[in-house]
């Protein structure tokens, strides 16, 4: 992984790419053609858009605010940005959007981020410290708990830091595999659960039986031990392989087509 140490961000060459570019293209590849993608803002917008422009043209991007399949000629900076209302197939509302999110006949994939994650992919986006007297406050669930509860699957973006990959969440905002095993189904959920965690170091997935997180791929130049060192709980790295870097086409699409202003790429 090459950091952009050359200064001019706009001069990144094709064999160089930033962590964000790696994360966006990696996550984008997880989108299948035909998926219905519940996008947030930030890097998930990039992932969804690059997927749509390259290998998943029939994937439909929609937003919890109700915007379905917008043209996205400019990148929205919030899910209520008027840019999610332009060129859509339909402008609905939250009720319709969450109905779609949980629709049993759709393969809905939601992108989420959070302040903390645990080994079972449960997420905290509410508080650090005690809920009643928090050390800091985050925005809250928004639609994250709903997506984690109702979508066919979720893909999580995180900065890979020990304080974020924690043994125990300060607050469980969004359900992952809960306490592992079949606990998610026992809690009453009929589908869903985390598919992968995409960080600035690599890709984590979840064991199909224990539902514990394991290291699946590291980015070129990242050592598995870096992941271990930045993870606050024990993580299995025995099956790791190196991730494929972004292709020229992915990078070109990202930089020139999806986010030419580098609003999200930075």
């Amino acid at each position: 992984m090459l950091k952009d140490s050359t200064g001019g961000k706009r001069e990144l060459r094709m064999n160089q790419y930033s962590p964000r570019e790696m994360m966006a293209t990696t996550a984008g590849r997880m989108i299948n053609n035909g998926d219905v993608v519940f996008a947030g803002t930030g890097i998930s917008m990039l992932a969804a858009t690059v997927a749509k422009r390259i290998h998943a043209p029939d994937a439909v991007v929609f937003f919890e605010t109700g915007g379905i399949d917008p043209s996205l000629e400019e990148l929205p900076l919030a899910v209520a940005d008027p840019r999610v209302m332009a060129g859509t197939s339909m402008n609905a509302g939250l009720i319709e959007a969450f109905s779609i999110l949980g629709h049993r006949r759709l393969r809905t994939v939601a992108f989420l981020g959070a302040a903390q994650i645990d080994r079972f992919g449960n997420l905290n986006s509410t508080v650090l410290g005690d809920y009643k007297k928090p050390r800091t406050r985050f925005p809250g669930s928004g639609g994250a708990c709903d997506a984690a509860s109702l979508a066919w699957g979720i893909i999580i973006f995180m900065q890979h830091e020990k304080r974020r990959f924690v043994e125990k969440l300060d607050y469980l905002t969004s359900p992952g595999w809960l306490s592992g095993g079949d606990s998610r189904a026992k809690a009453g959920f009929v589908r869903g659960g985390p598919i992968a965690v995409v960080t600035n170091l690599g890709i984590m997935r979840f064991d199909h039986v224990s539902r514990a997180m394991y290291l699946s791929e590291v980015y070129p130049g990242v050592l598995p031990q870096e992941v271990v060192a930045n993870t606050g709980f024990e993580i299995d790295i025995s099956g790791v392989r190196e991730a494929d870097p972004p292709t020229d086409r992915e990078l070109l699409t990202l930089r020139e087509d999806v986010d030419p202003q580098r609003l999200i790429l930075g």
Partner: protein, 323 residues
């Protein structure tokens, strides 16, 4: 002509004075950076309303301003943020951490369902969203306010689905019936009919759930215009108590097809909100020292307003510098 709005048309000052009291439960329409009812939020602050009980889903600028100005005592919410301009609303975060407001966390779908239940006259709604999380395990409001005023007796209830047997658990969410809903619309007809353009968020459910509804709008249009295509209309006149004509009434948030959010103002706000003294200065400069919306718009200035003017082709300001 029956059904006209002459009796309902009023200034923001009158609308707030007549329909909002200290302690009112108010539903804020809009969503983060869009269609926040800023003209009413500023007027509420000017009238020094206190102990408001705010109910919303994902909200941004109006909420943060109301909290920062000390108007809010209780909050039921899913998300307090302004997208890239403030991933967590700044005065909101400070107030929660300082224990200045009581907060009850729900998710967006949960809050939307609660408004929908109120709108439909249903006692509660059932969902699977949130099972196993702290959203359903932890109550935020102190026990002594439970069941008082508009606070439901429980945050929520978990029951067994009677149609499926003991293994199938569901979350029941109590209906919301706020005292007042504040909605900013693009159009109100002279017959009182409301038309929202673009995403409606949960505005319609909020309005339909409320005891009273104040609608501010960009344009008051003739009856013939609004009735030309009733399929596009959003709320009938008999659900609206007050109509306030307020061009740019959502500034600095966006109003689809009229104007974009104002990145310069939102950055100014972010910088001033981060500091207690500067925030007071913001309130003085942008709220207290300005008697009304006209003065506010004069202060923003025509140059900035023209910069965010929406292109009719796409409904936002194409190529606006948002960095």
């Amino acid at each position: 002509m029956p059904h006209d709005i002459t009796k309902k048309l009023m200034s923001p000052e009158e609308a707030v004075r007549r329909f909002i009291s200290d302690g009112s439960q108010i539903a804020l329409g809009g969503f983060t950076v869009s269609r926040n009812n800023m003209v009413l939020a500023r007027e509420i602050i000017r009238q020094k309303k206190r102990n408001l009980h705010v109910v919303c889903h994902s909200h941004g600028q109006a909420l943060d301003l109301l909290i920062g100005a000390g108007c809010v005592r209780r909050l039921e919410i899913a998300y307090g943020g302004m997208g890239r301009f403030a991933p967590t609303c700044i005065r909101f975060r400070k107030a929660v951490c300082a224990g200045q407001i009581d907060i009850e966390d729900y998710s967006n779908y949960q809050m939307s369902l609660r408004f929908l239940a109120g709108a439909m006259g249903l006692p509660f709604m059932a969902t699977k969203s949130g099972l196993g999380t702290d959203l359903v395990k932890i109550e935020g409001f102190p026990i002594d306010v439970r069941g008082t005023g508009k606070v439901p007796s429980m945050k929520l209830a978990i029951i067994e689905n009677p149609f499926n047997g003991a293994e199938d658990r569901v979350v029941l969410l109590p209906a919301l019936t706020p005292d007042v809903a504040l909605i900013h619309a693009q159009y109100v007809g002279e017959d009182g009919t409301v038309r929202l353009k673009g995403l409606t968020f949960a505005d319609l459910e909020q309005a339909r759930s409320a005891e009273h509804v104040i609608v501010t709008c960009e344009e008051v249009v003739p009856r013939s215009f609004i009735r030309d295509d009733p399929d596009q209309n959003s709320l009938p006149a008999f659900l609206v108590d007050a109509v306030v004509k307020a061009p740019f009434g959502a500034h600095p948030t966006a109003c689809y097809q009229f104007y974009d959010y104002d990145p310069r103002h939102l950055k100014l706000y972010r910088n001033m909100a981060a500091n207690d003294d500067l925030f007071q200065e913001y309130l003085e400069n942008w709220v207290f020292n300005l008697p009304d919306q006209e003065a506010y718009l004069e202060k923003v200035g025509i140059t900035d307003l023209m910069r965010i003017k929406a292109s009719p082709a796409v409904g936002y300001a194409q190529g606006l510098d948002r960095r």
